[in-house]
């Protein structure tokens, strides 16, 4: 795993690349620890509040621990029309968590996302970097059961 120092150096100590640095820092664990945020701020010589402000602004970053798999579920209007609400219910039922929660075994976190831009196959969700479409409650449950 690359250290904070290495990641900041890889991005040329350019503070405009902060979003990219945070993405790299977050990728092994799916969340940004306090040490990581403080470390980046120190390396870039910017206030900790600036780094924390950015980390907490964007929904793809988390300052709280999250599961190994992040489910980004689309509940925008085109997915809603095609029955996303029932699918979301099935997902919550299967995982026994609500939106913005993580399963007790630390495997899944459930979040809502804005439109994923695959409305031709609505309803859709992303599990980490994989997008799934044409979801039904059964299909979504199968996908999650098969995610290892």
């Amino acid at each position: 795993m690359n250290t904070v120092k290495e990641i900041v150096a890889e991005h040329g100590h350019e503070s405009s690349r902060l979003l990219e640095m945070l993405r790299c820092l977050q990728s092994p664990t799916n969340y940004l620890s306090e040490e990581a945020i403080v470390g980046v701020a120190k390396e870039l010589n910017v206030p900790i509040s600036h780094v924390y402000g950015v980390a907490s602004f964007y929904s793809m970053y988390s300052t709280k621990p999250r599961g190994k798999y992040i489910i980004r579920f689309c509940e925008s209007a085109p997915c809603h029309i095609e029955g996303a609400a029932e699918v979301l219910e099935a997902v919550q039922d299967q995982l026994q968590i609500a939106v913005n929660e993580t399963t007790t075994d630390g495997k899944f976190s459930l979040e809502l996302t804005s439109c994923l831009g695959v409305c031709g196959v609505a309803p859709a969700m992303m599990v980490n970097s994989t997008v799934y479409g044409n979801l039904t409650p059964e299909k979504a449950k199968k996908i999650l059961a098969a995610t290892e």
Partner: protein, 536 residues
């Protein structure tokens, strides 16, 4: 160069990719080679054909036969029957609205009424190969601009074309370029806004996936015209395939001397960098996007000064949407008079729409500006599935207006839709049938805005939350007439007082729904319950 007797194009756009089109392509390549046809038939991955609901789609040339919903189990038959024996596999042809099988593009009502300028290469070329773009005239317009035109002549041509921004606001592109050219600054930037987050919109994603070089070319021409040496493409973090394809295209353009220093032997210098977002709808707003590129929170800035004067790192910056930039090459190549022949006099050119919701042919289309909503839904979209009736269309995405069947004959262009009380916006078109409830949908819109409001200005931060609370109350059957009045008053306040487009447009779907579906809102008050039986 090897000549092939047949080419099979497999769509690898995001929608088809979700139908496992890459497995289909791999299996096809394998079975072609096993049948000993490896030297005769070439398999290619292309961008989106448009008929996303029918994916994965495959087209066999030279005949141009379209096969739809091709599964792994169908590959053997296609290879044995079509590719070996020349017999078309009828059961995989698309059944249109009539009983007739649609075989080639000419048979498809879906394609017949379309005019492809922006999508000219999507579904035609291999987007990961710059040579295929070059063969189709890629970068010729840039070459023309650089060698035959002055920067001011380029801007004049764009101004004369009447092209308006395709990202949603519809500002005249030529004037934007002129302001940025005239602004004083030692360094200037060109930014492509590919932060497509408007629900129901996937055109920018599919343009980038299908023809990334057209965006690079548009940005090169823009850079030459305004005097910029650096460009940024800001793409949503969720659009992984778009990022990957564009990065490959940038690398190839550099290898071919189309980006970097001394481009095409001139002293013109220009380079591009991709910056990706991290999940914030508000970053589609141009000043929020600039803050995000600078590595800050994506909060909108006060305007003026506009980005043309003070943008990225306070330098003059030109920001154009993906679709706008995809129009630049064709305008420079064919001239503004050619462009003005398409569309309407007030709103020339084409528009790319993404059709979603209760419509047979959901997917990606491009039509001349001014085509009516009815033609789009029924002639191209194939109408409403399963015998249901049209109830409502929302144009322009979740921040666009909701219109009823009375407006089915409205021309789909920027001024006509503004006059009708809605917006063309990003070109999203959500079609809703009679099983759905307008109040329930309004709740969905407001949940989205309450989630995506960045929290910087009070009218938007508090307004979206209160609107959602009021709508929840109405949906639960506990609302009264005063709640509707409050919805309207608060909406007007937000339109006037919000800092950026998010808060200013969030009330539009609510106000338009209240106008066109007033009876349905009132039915929810009077204790009769939800007429569609959805809310409860």
């Amino acid at each position: 160069m090897t000549l092939h007797r047949s080419h099979v194009l497999v769509c690898s756009g995001s929608n088809c990719a979700l139908h496992s089109s890459s497995f289909v392509k791999d299996r096809l390549t394998l079975e072609i080679s096993q049948a000993g046809l490896g030297d005769e038939i070439r398999v290619l991955e292309t961008g989106c054909f448009g008929l996303c609901a029918q994916g994965p789609i495959m087209v066999v040339y030279p005949e141009g036969i379209h096969y739809c919903k091709v599964g792994l189990e169908d590959i053997g038959e296609i290879v044995q029957e079509h590719l070996l024996k020349g017999r078309i596999v009828n059961r995989l042809l698309f059944k249109g609205t009539s009983d007739k099988n649609w075989m080639t593009k000419d048979d498809f009502d879906f394609y017949r009424k379309q005019e492809r300028v922006v999508l000219r290469n999507a579904g035609v070329i291999d987007p990961e190969n710059i040579e295929e773009s070059l063969v189709r005239g890629g970068y010729a317009a840039f070459g023309k601009a650089l060698s035959e035109m002055t920067p001011s002549q380029v801007i004049q041509e764009i101004t004369d074309s009447g092209l308006q921004g395709r990202g949603g606001a519809g500002f005249p592109t030529g004037r934007k370029w002129q302001f940025t050219q005239e602004a004083a600054g030692d360094k200037k930037y060109v930014v492509c806004n590919a932060d497509e987050g408007e629900p129901g919109t996937s055109k920018d994603r599919l343009i980038l996936e299908g023809d990334p070089h057209t965006i690079i070319e548009g940005m090169l021409i823009a850079g030459y015209a305004i005097g910029a040496t650096q460009g940024f493409v800001y793409i949503r973090g969720e659009y992984l395939l778009s990022i990957e394809r564009l990065q490959k295209a940038i690398n190839q353009a550099r290898e071919f001397g189309l980006l970097g220093k001394g481009i095409l032997g001139s002293d013109f210098e220009f380079d591009l960098e991709i910056r990706s977002g991290a999940g914030a709808y508000v970053c589609g707003e141009e000043t929020a996007l600039l803050n995000s590129i600078e590595g800050k929170r994506g909060e909108p800035r006060f305007k003026p000064p506009y980005p043309a004067v003070r943008g990225l790192w306070q330098k003059p910056t030109l920001i154009n949407n993906v679709e706008t930039l995809a129009n630049i090459g064709p305008i420079i190549q064919n001239g503004s008079d050619w462009f003005r022949q398409i569309g309407t006099p007030e709103c020339p050119g084409t528009k790319v729409f993404t059709l979603s919701g209760n419509i047979c042919n959901s997917g990606l289309i491009e039509v001349p500006m001014g085509m009516t909503l009815r033609e789009i839904i029924y002639d191209i979209g194939g109408g409403i599935p399963d015998g249901h009736q049209f109830k409502m269309a929302q144009t322009g995405g979740t921040s666009g207006g909701c219109i009823s069947a009375d407006l089915l004959d409205v021309p789909m262009d920027i001024p006509s839709l503004a006059k009708a009380g809605t917006a063309l916006g990003s070109g999203a078109l959500l079609v809703v049938d009679d099983r759905h409830c307008v109040v329930d949908l309004a709740k969905t819109f407001l949940r989205f805005f309450a989630h995506e409001s960045c929290g910087q200005c009070t009218p938007c931060r508090e307004g979206t939350t209160v609107l959602l609370r009021l709508m929840n109350k109405l949906a639960s059957g506990k609302g009264d007439a005063q709640d509707i009045t409050n919805l309207q008053r608060l909406s007007t306040t937000m339109q006037q007082a919000s800092l950026c487009g998010l808060g200013q447009t969030a009330p539009l779907p609510i106000l338009s729904a209240l106008t066109f579906f007033a009876d349905e809102f009132h039915a929810h008050l009077e204790g009769q319950g939800c007429p569609a039986g959805v809310c409860g």
